[in-house]
Subunit: 189 residues, 2 copies
DNA sequence: CGCTCGTTTGAGAGGACTCAAGGTAGGTGG
DNA sequence: CCACCTACCTTGAGTCCTCTCAAACGAGCG
């Protein structure tokens, strides 16, 4: 890819990579670090569309549509990105059919994830939303035993569209009914 | 495409094309008619992931992922489908790079739409959800004057995750504040 | 006319959200 | 070693508003 003029970019934790409403001009892939894509509603409440880590790319769909970004991308930790201009990406796609097929697979996964997320948000009770969220994490982790959930209560709230307090209250109920474990404030599922 | 063994299938209104949890085996494209993709939560409430019409394909992502369908597909009217087996679809993608690029564009659009839908569902008030829903319809219709909304109150509810009664009450408020027109039970935005 | 499907209105309860305050843990610096 | 700071977690009280359930109205069609 380097021959196509890719460059790397180092970012500190909490920096913006692009902003909601902005013009898409680059393809990004994470070399090290983590990135969240999120959007704000008018009340200033944040919704997390997804969190991406090393080896993953993000924010590609708007490149294909000539439309502004629907969400912002912000680093969650110090991060190194691979950066490639839109035109170069399209050249690569033309030259290497394998890349297009790879992207197709990534997009299929993205559609699938978002369809699941939509289903989660339409559940009426907070408990079910949280369970669906935790189930997804667990299926991604591919383990059977209890999984330590690496998210803060606030992040769970931002994923599920709930308020922090509601997440906390629901989790304590779930702890009492043994649906989750909470040990030293850490959440296990 | 016919040479790759595509076939057509006629369906009456209300028939299932595939069901939530089912194994994906075919690629479908609508020749005439309309299809809704929807999923049910435990309470039996339906959520509409999307509605597709002539010339559009649907339900492709699970084909690429070897995962069960997250939603069911049901015809909204008498419909004729083009049907192509998974293997044949992959052959075509290998033989014609243009098809892959076309699919990429469709998937990008799909991701974008679902990201917007997610944002809609996280809005706290029914009115904002409905406005975002109506905005999207209007931008798709590409017209500036008032648009007659071709959905029932129940369908709007199933798109926005609200209840019919809430949709109706919110729409009457919006009518009073002149945000929508309601003439003879028909909704205009 | 009588059926069906969609729309509308009302009353009541439950529960998520809001706001406000306090608690806990881990890290930093003196 | 302790005091402090910051970020995150927790709890309480009260309001609002969506959902639920029930009933009735309206339109289109055989």
């Amino acid at each position: 890819m380097i021959t196509y003029g890719a460059s790397t970019k180092k970012l500190k934790k909490g920096e913006y990579i692009f902003e909601e409403g902005g013009e898409p001009r680059f393809f990004f892939k994470i070399l090290t670090g983590a990135v969240k894509m999120c959007c704000m509603n008018e009340e200033g409440k944040e919704f997390i569309q997804g969190i991406y880590r090393a080896e993953e790319s993000f924010g590609e769909p708007p490149l294909f549509l000539n439309r502004p970004y629907p969400s912002s991308a912000i680093t969650l930790e110090d991060t190194v990105l691979l950066k490639l201009s839109k035109d170069k990406l399209f050249s690569i796609i033309n030259d290497y059919p394998g890349v297009a097929k790879n992207l197709l697979h990534i997009f299929a996964q993205r559609v699938y994830d978002k369809a699941t997320a939509l289903q989660m948000l339409t559940c009426p009770t907070p408990e079910r939303k949280i369970i669906i969220f935790l189930e997804k994490l667990k299926s991604q982790a591919k383990i059977n035993h209890k999984l330590m959930i690496p998210y803060t209560r606030q992040q769970i709230a931002d994923f599920t569209g709930l308020r922090v307090e509601t997440v906390i209250r629901t989790l304590s109920k779930m702890k009492n009914s043994c649906k989750v474990d909470i040990i030293n404030h850490k959440l296990y599922y």
